[in-house]
Symmetry: C2
Amino acid sequence: MIYNMPKKKQIVSDLSTEEKIKEAARKVFTEKGYAAARTRDIAEEAGINLALLNYYFRSKEKLFDEIMLEKMQQLFGVMFPIVSDETLPLENKIDLIVQNYIDMLIKNPNLPLFVLNEIRNPSKTFDKNFPISKMLKNTSLVNQIKEARPDLNPVHFLLNILGMTIFPFIAKPIFGHVGLITEKEFTSLLNERKKLIPVWIKAILKSK
Amino acid sequence: MIYNMPKKKQIVSDLSTEEKIKEAARKVFTEKGYAAARTRDIAEEAGINLALLNYYFRSKEKLFDEIMLEKMQQLFGVMFPIVSDETLPLENKIDLIVQNYIDMLIKNPNLPLFVLNEIRNPSKTFDKNFPISKMLKNTSLVNQIKEARPDLNPVHFLLNILGMTIFPFIAKPIFGHVGLITEKEFTSLLNERKKLIPVWIKAILKSK
DNA sequence: GTCTATAACCTGATAGAC
DNA sequence: GTCTATCAGGTTATAGAC
């Protein structure tokens, strides 16, 4: 019986080989970025051979494109259903966006820095009509903001919500390096912000 | 006479060779990041030979370290004198920080993404006592925030000010790719924010 | 499907002539 | 100081055995 017990290293091993490679690629690419990531690292992380990686994905870039698409959907997907909901009042939308983002980003802290950094490279392929473009058109959220503050460009408020919510994760490396805040303190700060940011945004919407 | 006229390519050529290389390195490193930047690109951009780059700076990493230090000082240097000023009232500090940052970042749009991204790499050398660490100690600004809002961690407000100010530059690549906002619109939005963010921050400080 | 061995290429760095 | 030519090492990708 003991011979059938999975070894510790095999926790993840019931995944298909393809999925093991993707899982490793997610880790290595998001940690190091495309240019600094080596296919050897990914293969080792996946517990397989380098040749096998190319057997499944043909090239580093093809593998990267799959992960990148996935990560972009993960980052932008949080907003999309909320933004376009026609029935939800503005205040509830704000609550949900902030809470969902912070919850998701606590689990994927370096997602924003990864995506926003790699997206600069024009060689990578993106859909011109990705969520963000739709977000800035006549979605329910934007219309609600326009109604609340017809005097200002609604983009200001999107930048405020996302800036307050996402920026801590982008600035995290600094705090880390400086060693001024522990992982625990950082997380509890973020949990406070889940409730505080919506309050602040509503104050801003009414300001002056 | 015409023979002494500088050619177009020579606009920058009265700089010393060392400075030409650094100027090229600033451009290439901030655009592509350390890993994706090639010393050949830098040499070409500087209009000199690859060997000469190594003659002046011994290695890619040494050259990078000089640029990185410079860029960190540029990014964090904006805050430092304002934050520690003992005489300036809180409201004026907020005005100055936001305005100075936006003015500087309009001239160096990809500075934040570059620094915040490269700073993750622990191999690079940083002073453990860099501005940020001092900012979070008992600087004048932090004490003023504590006085205004003793009920909340002052870090929240630093994250709000910096998030609202810096995030637009980090998110810029998205808007660019999506092609929803022109360079001009983006700049005019930022100029609006110079006046708006301080108003919002003050509203937040008083909220609830 | 998975491996070992190796090809093909790229990049940082140096030797040496001028 | 500046160049050309080249080396040494590393990285992606493939050929071919099992």
